[in-house]
């Protein structure tokens, strides 16, 4: 079983649209894991049935038991995040401001403050329209994606793929280079970077590549909207060649992507041949590269 992870560095490069297309091409031979949990969009294209769901708990926040509180105000004094508010005569925690450091709970002379684990969202195991299984999650407002949640989603996907004897796990990672991205790369067999020839696209790709290098992972690049800026496109190719990043494919700027999306379709299901063929070739190439590395 091999794990293929798609990331981008910069957001908006077309990572999810392309990953969803690959998910359709992989058919029932892959388990899909949507780890881009902050802005999980892949469900719009793959139509999961939300068959199984479970609550996800992460992080702690302080809670004051008003019956025990002696209103000494020490919690308010020590809080570095101004998360303790005095309303009339009682002290209250503003949940959005609380960072869960537990300083207040530690210092409270009557132990009136408990640290409560937060239910921050749900994770799901679904069947999608290609009849493959997908593991995905949805977070509540103000909750942040974390390495913990990504590790959880990937672990479930791994379990399913082992139980059902699938060859691949296809992971839609999150943009950026932070904790969730580190967690999505961890344990991968092959990494695909979807980038675009813009200043920020190239810049963020270079940063995310540092991370890939740390993990010593084999990687390949898809340049989306490659005709938007020929000069930067050329620089990306140069960068890839120097750093031994496989160049998987170049896609033209094409509004068919958005047209397909408004109909809730991946490009594979859309009546269009050029992009579809490039993506089909890309997927075959990726499987070959993943298996030979």
């Amino acid at each position: 079983m091999k794990e293929i992870v798609v990331i981008s560095g910069k957001g908006g490069t077309g990572k999810t649209s392309i990953t969803a297309a690959f998910a359709m091409l992989a058919g029932r031979n892959a388990v899909i894991a949507d780890c881009d949990v902050d802005a999980a969009d892949m469900h719009l294209l793959l139509q999961p049935d939300y068959a199984r769901s479970e609550d996800f708990y992460s992080g702690f926040k302080a809670k004051i038991d008003q019956n025990l509180c002696i209103k000494c105000g020490k919690c308010k004094q020590v809080c570095r995040f101004d998360a303790v508010q005095k309303i009339d005569d009682s002290y209250n925690i503003i949940n959005l401001d609380c960072e869960g450091c537990a300083y207040c709970a530690e210092i409270c002379p009557v132990k009136a403050i408990q640290m409560v684990e937060q239910n921050v969202g749900k994770w799901y195991i679904s069947q999608i329209k290609s009849e493959a299984q997908m593991v995905h999650a949805r977070l509540g407002i103000g909750a942040d994606n974390s390495g913990k949640l990504v590790a959880k989603v990937k672990k479930e996907a791994k379990n399913i793929s082992q139980e059902t004897g699938k060859d691949y796990i296809l992971v839609d990672g999150s943009p950026g280079i932070g904790c969730p991205v580190v967690s999505s790369l961890s344990g991968a067999n092959y990494v695909i970077v979807v980038t675009e020839p813009t200043l920020s696209g190239f810049h963020d790709m270079k940063r995310v590549f540092e991370l890939i290098q740390n993990f010593k992972l084999p990687s390949g690049c898809i340049i989306n909207k490659q005709d938007v800026n020929a000069e930067i496109s050329e620089k990306i190719v140069e960068f890839c060649t120097t750093n031994k990043i496989d160049i998987i494919s170049k896609l033209p700027y094409d509004e068919t992507f958005s047209e397909a999306m408004t109909q809730g379709k991946t490009i594979i299901e859309f009546d269009e041949e050029n992009l579809k063929n490039i993506l089909k070739d890309s997927w075959s190439k990726i499987l070959l590269l993943t298996d030979t590395h």
């Binding site: 992080g59 974390s146 390495g147 904790c179 580190v182 961890s186 993990f215 010593k216």
Partner: protein, 109 residues
């Protein structure tokens, strides 16, 4: 020499966990004493952020000379480990701990 492995279980036959920060266990083999011990790291599943440095600290306390794992540790973990002087060997992601040890001894990793 003391050799540490990131593993999914607690025996020689346990598969290597390719991840560093979120590895379930460390298997520690002390070659001089011919002793195998394990360090449980499963509580890391409950940690939202900063798994890498936390696990690096735990490994550091074991004072191994060599770490054998699958992929390289990520940025933060790598920074901590570089200061520890522990030699990091990667590429054992698809092996068991025993296979990884043998491969390391033969200089194949």
């Amino acid at each position: 020499m003391k050799i540490a492995f990131t593993t999914k279980g607690t025996e020689w036959d346990s598969p290597i966990d390719p991840r560093f920060g979120r590895t379930d266990y460390f298997l520690i083999y002390d070659e001089e004493k011919d002793e195998l011990s394990t360090v449980d790291n499963t509580e890391i599943n409950e940690v939202a952020h900063g798994a890498g440095p936390r696990t690096a600290q735990k490994l550091f306390e074991q004072k191994p000379d060599v770490l054998i794992t699958g992929n390289g540790p990520g940025g933060n973990a790598a920074t901590v480990l570089n200061q520890s002087g522990i030699k990091i060997i990667t590429g054992a992601g698809a092996m068991t701990a025993k296979e990884a040890y043998d491969a390391y001894k033969k200089g194949e990793l």
